[in-house]
């Protein structure tokens, strides 16, 4: 944020920052070695809905790309709308690298079509009996952990521990006030 923005108020929305998305590919090894957390074989990207032909066209484009991907890398996919009206692209692949590149491909094609603003987050679930979600916010350009416990609680202590273990390998959002949870993910 520039000095003028500070004086006059921000003049533009932050652009999506997806360059740090790939960090999870290497972080995954540490997660498994140090914490026993394994990828669940699925990942998802959440897109804010937009009523426009561009959106429909992009959605069709994404589906074409995913079809291609499912033939080449064997990545299964599913498109789903949630109760908030958001579009979820859920990918399934036992190979974690394929999942990461699949998520990146969807993010890039939306950004290329000028719909980068609509990207909400990417989610990588890990499990060791309990579920840990690494949420990548495109606006923050950073990850943060989300560990649900019970119906609407979250395990803050474990999340903070995850931050301390992973701080060197993952770009993690520093401000815990922005670690917004996502309930009832279609994952």
């Amino acid at each position: 944020m520039g000095f003028l923005d500070f004086l006059l108020g921000s003049t533009r929305l932050p652009q999506p920052r997806s360059e740090r998305l790939f960090a999870i590919a290497t972080a995954r090894i540490t997660l498994e070695a140090k914490l026993g957390l394994k990828p669940t074989g699925s990942a998802a990207i959440c897109v804010k809905p937009l009523e426009s032909s561009a959106y429909e066209r992009t959605r069709a484009e994404i589906e074409d790309l995913l079809k291609l991907g499912s033939r080449e890398a064997g990545t299964a996919y599913r498109l789903e709308n949630d109760s908030y009206g958001y579009l979820w692209v859920v990918l399934k692949d036992p190979d974690f690298e394929d999942l990461v590149s699949g998520i990146h491909m969807v993010a890039r094609s939306l950004t290329d079509s000028g719909l980068g603003q609509q990207l909400l987050c990417a989610v990588y679930p890990f499990s060791d009996g309990y579920k840990v979600y690494w949420i990548f916010s495109f606006k923050l350009g950073a990850y943060y952990p989300f560990v649900p416990s019970g119906a609407s609680g979250r395990d803050g202590a474990l999340e903070l521990r995850l931050r301390s273990v992973m701080a060197e390998e993952l770009p993690i959002e520093k401000d815990v006030e922005r670690w917004y949870p996502i309930w009832e993910m279609p994952l």
Binding site: M1, C46, Y84, L120, S137, G156, R163, S164, R178, I182
Partner: protein, 287 residues
């Protein structure tokens, strides 16, 4: 694996602080004597104060916050926890006190390892789970193990004497002194002594907290427990939101909060952030 070792950094700093404080006070005494106060008077008064402070500091500290020593039958879990930690740390079990207040806090006091008291508040007991409480107790026991409580007690006493002189000097002495201006000189010297000792004590105080954090992490083997305890005490844990991302995105709340430099400028990032960062580094070392 990180093991317990004598914290050379802390030991060196404690020695340096005491040495510098002693130097400052020798100068202080010399100046007072030059003003015409007899050496016997100065030494006697300082000696009595130091004696009282040294032998009663723990009782004074406990009484000033309304702490009550609890017996094993009154707080069996707390005693059990402290006993176990002392076995790990190789310490005699201190007495345990409880302060009735909702402010979450804990402290250790006492002039030696065997006469120490660890006090916790009811607010702390209410907020922390067992592993977090264990971490906080281990932190206090590390203070005792590092013997920095006694150093701080003596150092603070000397600083207190200087501050008392600074604040009350014009009620002392007779008219002749006031007119000669010697009281002003003593006041000025006392002020300098007060400020210098204040800075020295603060610097040592910050360092000994890091040291005790490290000790706690080694005793419990879980730096993260202390991190979450610190976060709970400072309210960080409560700042993790519960509202769904899609809901706040809809309200555009995501952009309202200032980012980067301005957020840093506005928010207080007190030593607690630095302490957490140090613990996180330790967590990575231990793993």
């Amino acid at each position: 694996m990180v093991r317990w070792s004598a914290d050379r950094g802390l030991q060196a700093r404690m020695l340096l602080t005491m040495f510098l404080l002693a130097a400052v006070y020798l100068i202080f005494i010399n100046v007072i004597m030059a003003m015409g106060v007899g050496i016997q008077g100065v030494v006697l008064i300082m000696g009595i104060f130091l004696f009282i402070q040294y032998f009663y500091s723990d009782k004074i500290a406990l009484a000033s916050v309304g702490a009550r020593i609890v017996s094993e039958s009154e707080a069996p879990e707390l005693h059990e926890l402290v006993g176990r930690l002392c076995a790990i740390a190789g310490l005699p079990k201190p007495r345990i006190a409880v302060v009735r207040t909702d402010i979450p806090n804990a402290f250790a006091t006492g002039r030696s390892q065997s006469s120490s008291v660890v006090a916790v508040t009811t607010g702390l007991l209410r907020r922390l789970d067992k592993s977090e409480l264990e971490a906080v107790l281990a932190h206090e026991l590390s203070h005792i193990k590092n013997r920095d409580v006694a150093v701080m007690t003596i150092a603070s006493f000397l600083s207190t004497v200087a501050s008392v002189i600074v604040q009350n000097i014009f009620f002392l002495g007779d008219r002749r002194d006031r007119e000669s201006g010697s009281l002003v000189a003593v006041w000025l010297v006392s002020l300098i002594v007060w400020i210098v000792s204040f800075i020295l004590i603060r610097a040592l105080s910050r360092y000994r907290e890091f040291s005790a954090d490290r000790g706690a992490a080694i005793i419990t083997g879980r730096p993260s427990a202390l991190v979450s305890a610190l976060m709970k005490i400072s309210g960080t844990m409560a700042r993790i939101p519960r509202e769904d991302l899609r809901r706040v995105e809809g309200m555009n709340a995501f952009f309202i909060i200032p980012t980067g430099a301005i957020a840093n400028l506005l928010s207080t990032h007190p030593p607690i952030e630095a302490r957490i960062a140090a613990l996180e580094r330790l967590e990575r070392e231990i793993l």
